[in-house]
């Protein structure tokens, strides 16, 4: 290995560019507007500055990719050391970065999608009083996310892991005046913290077992670990991932997170942050592999169940952003499903394509909201493709991609996952995956049809308009990527997979006729889903059918519409009792019991004092009597001593 200074420089630049911009904007963003006439003359300079810095990072990322590709395949993992961080008694953790195909892939996605979303935000956030702070946060997020993926040890990864959580908190609660937004922000952070708690325990267990947190060494020594330990570690790490990547049982924060500005949802809650868990599992794949079956089975089944579960809820949701949120959860479940069956590259592939099309759809949803004055209820919309052609057409790309229509990006990645599951013999998972694919096609079509097709319908008093060019320049490339993203990893060439292989290993793919059959099946299911949605939402009699369907599904539909009451169950089952207990501790136990016991001693002294004070009656004869008692006691005691 030849750790070249250029790699350290590149990695450092990538992170520091965005970080320094964030800090600069945080301190001077709005202030320069007040102080400098130059700043006043360039509207949105803050946004452009932020975008440029991400762009620069993107450029550096490409350079990084090129430099990496220049090297022979087996030398494409470069660890660079910036400086020592924690170093106590043989335990050493540094600011070390790892540059390898996996991290570079992530960096490219983050900076690439991030750049587009930054540009989009310039238009979207125009006129917001906290315009510059938004970009500061956004850049801070980018920097944190880059740190997460570039980290060479788990502790540094954890820094990024929590930092992106913080940025998510800041951005969800960006419009903190809204109680719903601040609640959502808090919920997101705390739920994430619960996951992080497990993640931290996992890190501790690794540190205790391996004595080191460097990714390479942990993975290298994975084989030497006891199976139980490895499984425990993996489950703890995965528990962290369920928080960050919104899987059962910690997914509840993500739908609420839609309270944040839509670009945030696109960048953080679709394309990048929520995929951190997926990235982490892929990154630790040797460990997961070494731990034997249980951990991977758990990952696969949690992923699959989440995919199905979220898809069910998405099918019953009316809020377009929330539909997309559930969809994201569902798709993330897909990725974990892939990891669970050992298809790490498939999972990563889906991560990348999902980043394209889901970011696209979120941005599209944002455009819709932008055009409709903030409306998010799809029942208030219709036929918008005619009113907002750019938005409509680009959204269509995303829709087709997620439904898995050939040749859109989603088809290839989803197919890769299902194929791997089949090849591994995990037919149950495959079945869940295919069912989810059907549901996905259904609810996304439902969304698309209701919003963009049919009769034109906009909320009253709103003049619907299409996006400004800054937003369009983000939508169009993403739409393109949603269309062609699949070619990254065409079944024949498997470019991405080969690129990632040194890190995540080779995955099993079915051979012969099977892949073709599977792909056909998946396409069929997608078509079925679209058809069902079309019959319910596009045709004239759709209304009636819908009602019959809902009637037939009965309680299931009601439950799905109410998010299966999970929030309520958590609320009444955990939060409320905990709150009551805390209130008891704060209002009764601490002041009354503990403090009461301690100050009670003091009070006892006072009472005693008051009580025996009466002895000091003022009567001199009483005093003499007391005196005499003393005398009698003393003489009695002494007599008893000497008298015998």
């Amino acid at each position: 290995m030849i750790p070249g200074p250029d790699f350290l420089g590149l990695a450092g630049t990538i992170i520091l560019t965005t970080l320094s911009t964030a800090v600069f904007l945080l301190f001077f963003g709005s202030r320069l507007n007040r102080w400098s006439t130059l700043a006043q003359r360039i509207p949105g300079w803050v946004g452009w500055l932020a975008a440029i810095s991400v762009g620069r990072a993107f450029f550096e990322a490409i350079v990084l990719l090129v430099r990496l590709l220049e090297r022979p395949e087996e030398h494409r993992s470069i660890a660079v050391h910036a400086f020592d961080w924690l170093s106590v008694g043989g335990f050493k953790v540094g600011f070390d970065f790892l540059i390898d195909p996996l991290s570079v892939t992530m960096v490219l996605v983050i900076t690439g999608v991030g750049l587009l979303i930054h540009i989009y935000s310039i238009g979207y956030m125009k006129g917001d009083p906290r315009f510059s702070r938004f970009f500061a946060y956004l850049n801070l997020f980018t920097a944190s996310m880059l740190l997460l993926v570039l980290a060479d040890n788990l502790l540094l990864l954890y820094v990024g892991w929590e930092a992106v959580g913080l940025c998510s908190f800041l951005l969800i609660g960006f419009w903190f005046e809204k109680p719903s937004a601040s609640n959502a922000a808090k919920k997101a952070f705390i739920v994430n913290r619960i996951g992080d708690f497990a993640f931290l325990l996992g890190i501790l267990l690794i540190a205790g077992t391996v004595g080191n947190l460097t990714l390479g060494q942990v993975n290298a020594q994975a084989g030497a670990m006891a199976a139980g330990t490895a499984t425990t570690i993996c489950l703890l790490l995965f528990a962290g991932a369920t928080g960050k990547s919104a899987q059962i049982p910690l997914y509840i924060w993500l739908p609420d997170a839609m309270e944040g500005p839509t670009p945030v949802s696109a960048l953080i809650h679709a394309a990048t942050m929520v995929t951190a868990g997926v990235y982490m599992v892929a990154r630790m794949s040797p460990l997961f592999e070494a731990s034997g079956g249980i951990a991977l089975t758990v990952v696969g089944y949690i992923g699959a169940l989440t995919a199905l579960w979220a898809a069910l809820m998405a099918a019953a949701e009316y809020d377009i952003k929330r539909v997309l949120a559930y969809s994201t959860i569902s798709q993330l479940g897909y990725m974990f499903l892939a990891h669970g069956v050992g298809g790490y590259s498939a999972g990563m592939f889906h991560l990348v394509t999902h980043a394209f099309f889901k970011a696209l759809m979120f941005l599209g949803a944002g455009a819709v909201m932008h055009g409709l004055g903030g409306e998010t209820d799809m029942r208030e919309m219709g036929g918008l493709r005619k009113v907002m052609p750019i938005t409509g057409w680009t959204f269509m790309m995303g829709w087709l991609a997620i439904c898995g229509v050939i040749p859109f990006a989603g088809f290839f990645s989803k197919d890769a996952i299902l194929a791997t599951a089949w090849a591994q013999g995990e037919y149950v998972l495959w079945a869940i995956g295919i069912a989810t694919a059907f549901l996905t096609a259904f609810y996304m079509s439902r969304l698309y049809f209701r919003v963009f097709e049919g009769r034109v319908k906009v909320p009253e008093g709103v003049h619907a308009h299409d996006v400004p060019w800054t937003m369009a320049v983000a939508l169009i490339p993403l739409a393109g990527l949603a269309l062609v993203g699949g070619f990254l990893n065409l079944p024949g060439s498997l470019t991405l997979e080969h690129f990632l292989e040194p890190v995540v290993g080779e995955s099993t793919v079915p051979h012969g006729l099977t892949p073709w059959l599977l792909a056909g099946g998946a396409l069929l299911v997608a078509a079925l889903g679209i058809a069902v949605a079309g019959s319910l939402y596009l045709s004239r009699s759709g209304n009636v059918r819908r009602r019959t369907l809902v009637h037939r599904l009965g309680p299931v539909a009601v439950a799905a519409r109410n998010k299966f009451y999970v929030d309520e169950i958590y609320g009444y089952g955990i939060v409320l009792p905990a709150k009551r207990a805390a209130a008891f501790a704060a209002d009764v136990f601490d002041p009354k019991v503990i403090d009461g016991a301690v100050t009670g001693i003091g009070r006892l002294v006072g009472r005693t004092s008051e009580a025996i004070r009466g002895m000091q009656s003022g009567y001199v004869r009483s005093y003499a009597a007391t005196f005499l008692i003393g005398v009698v006691i003393i003489t009695s005691v002494l007599l008893a001593r000497v008298g015998t």
Binding site: S609, V620, F627, G630, V631, I634, L638
Partner: protein, 496 residues
Amino acid sequence: MIVAAGFTAPHVELAGIGPEVALVVAGLVLLVVDALVGDRWGGWHLPVLATAGFAAAIVLAVGVWGQNDIQFSGMIATDGFAVFSKIVLATFGVLTVWLARDYLTAEGIEEGEFYALLTFAVAGMMLMASAADLIVVFLALEMFSLALYVLVGFRRRSRASQESALKYFLLGAFSSAFFLLGIALCYGATGTTNFYPATQGDPSLLTYLASTAPEHLGLLVIGTGLLIVGLGFKIAAVPFHMWTPDAYQGAPSPVTGFMAAGSKLAGFAALLRLLDATLFSLRTDWRPLLIAVAVATMIIGSVLAVVQEDVKRMLAYSSIAHAGFVLTGVIATSDPGVAGALFYLATYGITVLGAFAVIAVISGREERYVRLTDMKGLFYERPAMAGALTLFLLSLAGVPVTSGFVGKLLVFGAAIQSGYTALVVVGVLTSAIAAFFYLRVLVVMYMQERDGEVEVSRGGWFGPAVIGLAAATTIVLGLYWGPLIDLAEKARFFTG
């Protein structure tokens, strides 16, 4: 000169009782001068004369520092212990004199007898410190007690003062009777009242103890118990403490201070010499008793002080608690214990005198403002007084950098060294209780605003001067106490 047959002329050696003689002479001179001069010299001559007497006493005491003698046929011991106590007592006397100067003027009772009685009282206390015979102890005790009865009632117009005097007197006489019974039993047991043999082979308690089988000591032990009762009264040990709050509250503040300082020291001096030096071999008999008394004293004194609203009364209870602390030094029955107790008594005396001096200065005519509520916001009106009182109270509470802390350290240390850790634990816990009521004073002085009229404070500079001196001593002895503890350690008992 005709000397009857069989009469051995006494060997009179005045050096040993020089300080006492000086003070008695000063007292007599004061009486005469007062009668002759009257009000003419603005009352200056009286305190000056008294001071001269105390100064002479100190000089004479210092002169015999280092002697290790018994004199007057074994009636008194001229040893380091006695000399140390005498110097300290004379110091208390001087401070009291100058504190009383302004006080008496303001109260309209500037009478020469005050100073005379004070010198007699100190002379009695000094005699007590060097007494080496039970009857001398008794006489000395009566000498200063009688003077104190009168001094306590010196504000004759004040009902409180009268009442204090009467209570103190009746109970004092009552306890004297018990003390006397104790002497009788000791005499009955041994046929002598001398501590040390006057000359080799003479009867004395020490020789008796050395030569008698334990089963014959019963009467002596009971007598000892009664002696402890009598001295326990003087040092205000529970359950013989009941007079203390009433007497302290009613007495003129300078007298209260003097009483707390001097009479405690004198009582302890006798107790230490009697128990730790003379009846040392009976320690297994009296020590458990004293431990019980000490524990009760510490607890009752501290606990009862908690609810007091009158500052003088509160300090009275605190002085009870302090008696308990010093008792731990006595119980240690070791040289460090004795030295520690001496140090404690000396510093406690200065501190408590200072505290009562502050009260004397701020309490206004007729001592009207002695309640806790009267001290509200004192820090803002008279910061120096409040600061000094704070210092004294902290010293009483045993907070470091004050002499009170060092005293506690020494006696508790001695007790621990002798193995009485549990007693020390009781001591420290009661100190914590005690801290509460000292803090209460701080609370009113610093943290509450004065409501209502502003008090009439006593004029004059001597009160503040005494306070300043006491404060300086408290601090200096808290910071650099090596020399004093050196002296206290050299203040050994007579060794035959």
